[in-house]
Symmetry: C2
Subunit: 352 residues, 2 copies
């Protein structure tokens, strides 16, 4: 681990207990039965602990960070879509036509699109070009996805971006990704880091058929046999069987946590990135906000491993950050309750 | 059943199959793997079927209807809060300080507050005063809550309000309620209409202790023994062991369905009102949009009875329409996806 990466990790502090107590006390004074807003109250308290502000003066400025990269393992026939769809969808994001654009507009968030390893050239004035490997990863079924140094650079890209966005006033980030084939390295990482069986971790992604599913399982098995990633060393696993956007998102989470900025974790791939981040810095977990339960097979298992309980049950499996963006209104609601609700005293309502 | 009520019920039509097919076809052309937006796609199709418009030109105009009433069964010590809290909270709604006001403001909805049977006088320029019984219901543990004629009037109040709101341009309604003690008649209705055991249906409401829970169970048992409601006649059950706000919400649902207006169903009490509505008019079920899974014990069972699957899992148990209001952004998202997403053709993205 580079000294800089380690210094960012070392900068992740504990939750602010004083702000959490203050938020809890205020929640107890508001005109509602104690605890009756359930997990929305827990969310309000958690946000207080993360940001250090008990009662947010306004909704947090939001961005969905979509990290895009390609995957050499596509050679193994693991995806229902051709690899050219990665850059095509990146342009779709940049032109505002994808699902994540629609959901972000509706929930008041900006979409930040990062090329961290899309195969081939890709240019657009709104694109953040931070390529770590210009052709994407190598085929993990035959060798390492990237070198350890490249994995570290991808982590650093995410960390730097978190700091940049923080500097631009963003105070709530969500993870998104695009990368044809990326449920395969995600499943491989899950198998390695959580000690799961390949069949539990590998799902149908964008929709492969039964044969495709068997090819994916086989590719994950071979990736692990060939590369022998060290389950106790997340950077090693990331370099050997991971992906560039997964590494970038892990770095984004670590960088955001170091800035006391909450991160909403989207579906399967994003949650695996969160698992990588938490293995590098367990305290980063406190800064994660769960979002939805994906329809992708392994998602429930990653969330269990992270100890996160999803709020939305919509059987979505699109990625891009779409499930996370749909949770922004819940986060605004948690803050709004603290900021705007009347107290028993102010409204003249009798207590129970 | 009065002729007018019957005529409204008879006016509930089937879903618009053509609009649903059109929405489905469009969803298949959008830049995402088929079906990958999961239940958001099902929601978009359902909304098309309800409204008859495949692609909504703009977000639907929204109102949360909060029906408020009092309950004679409070004499039995079934609530953690004193009965005076009902009018106090109604004033809190009217002054914008309750949770439902905060969540409605954030989700772009208006709060419509109706006094359908709050005990005592209650005046406010924004209050819709539609009292059916000026002292609320009688104590169901000792006799009928109201007469059959009063139950019909309360249903009619809800139906008329749905038509009024439709006339004012509202195209998406959510159910909300306030009434200290109202989980008790709701549980009684659930026991009668779904043939459940009292212990399964009775929960802690706003937070009664173990003794209070036993008193509630006992009150529900006595209500059913004393009144002998007919499980095959929802109006009879409603009159004997129900509540005025529950009847009003059932009427609202039926009236909205007759106007092809979707209704988001909040938690336990609202769901019981929906069950009453669906027993009177089974086709009303098509017009219901589920929202959250409440922390109140019987909610899961009512939803099962209705065949509705909750989208939000937040362990909320506040009522007022709060869980329903939090689902408005999901409904806007479903419409927004249809309206704003690029197609594979328009964005130049390869299909799988």
């Amino acid at each position: 681990m580079t000294t800089w990466i380690q210094s960012v990790i070392d900068g992740i502090g504990p939750l602010d207990e004083r702000a959490m107590r203050e938020a809890e006390e205020r929640l107890g004074q508001l005109t509602k039965p104690p605890g009756s807003l359930g997990r929305l109250e827990a969310l309000a308290v958690r946000l207080a602990g993360i940001t250090g502000v008990a009662v947010p003066p306004a909704p947090l400025k939001k961005a969905v960070v979509v990290m895009a990269a390609d995957h050499g393992v596509c050679e193994e026939g693991v995806s229902a879509f051709p690899q050219e769809v990665t850059p095509q969808m990146v342009l779709n994001f940049l032109n505002g036509g994808a699902a994540i654009n629609v959901l972000s507009r509706q929930t008041g968030a900006d979409v930040v699109c990062v090329d961290i390893g899309v195969k081939g050239e890709l240019k657009h004035e709104k694109l953040l070009s931070r390529k770590v490997r210009p052709q994407g990863t190598a085929n993990i079924a035959r060798g390492p996805a990237m070198s350890r140094g490249e994995a570290e650079r991808a982590i650093a890209v995410g960390m730097e971006l978190a700091a940049e966005l923080y500097g631009q006033g963003y105070r709530l980030l969500a993870t998104g990704e695009m990368g044809i084939g990326n449920t395969t390295p995600s499943a491989a990482l899950l198998v390695v880091l959580a000690g799961l069986d390949v069949k539990e971790a590998v799902g149908r992604g964008t929709g492969v058929n039964e044969e495709g599913l068997l090819r994916k399982q086989d590719a994950v098995l071979r990736a692990i046999e060939t590369n022998r990633p060290d389950p106790g060393d997340a950077m090693d696993a990331l370099a050997k069987v991971g992906g560039l956007e997964i590494a970038g998102l892990a770095g984004l989470i670590l960088g955001a946590a170091a800035k006391r900025c909450p991160v909403v974790v989207d579906g399967f791939i994003s949650s695996v990135a969160a698992l990588v981040a938490c293995r590098m810095a367990p305290s980063a977990r406190d800064y994660l906000i769960p979002s939805h339960l994906s329809g992708e097979r392994g998602h429930r298992l990653v969330l269990q491993e992270l100890g996160l309980e999803p709020m939305l049950h919509l059987e979505m499996r699109l990625g891009e950050g779409t499930g996370a963006a749909l949770c922004f209104p819940l986060i605004d609601a948690a803050g709004g309750v603290l900021r705007e609700m009347a107290t028993f005293d102010s409204a003249g309502v009798s207590k129970g």
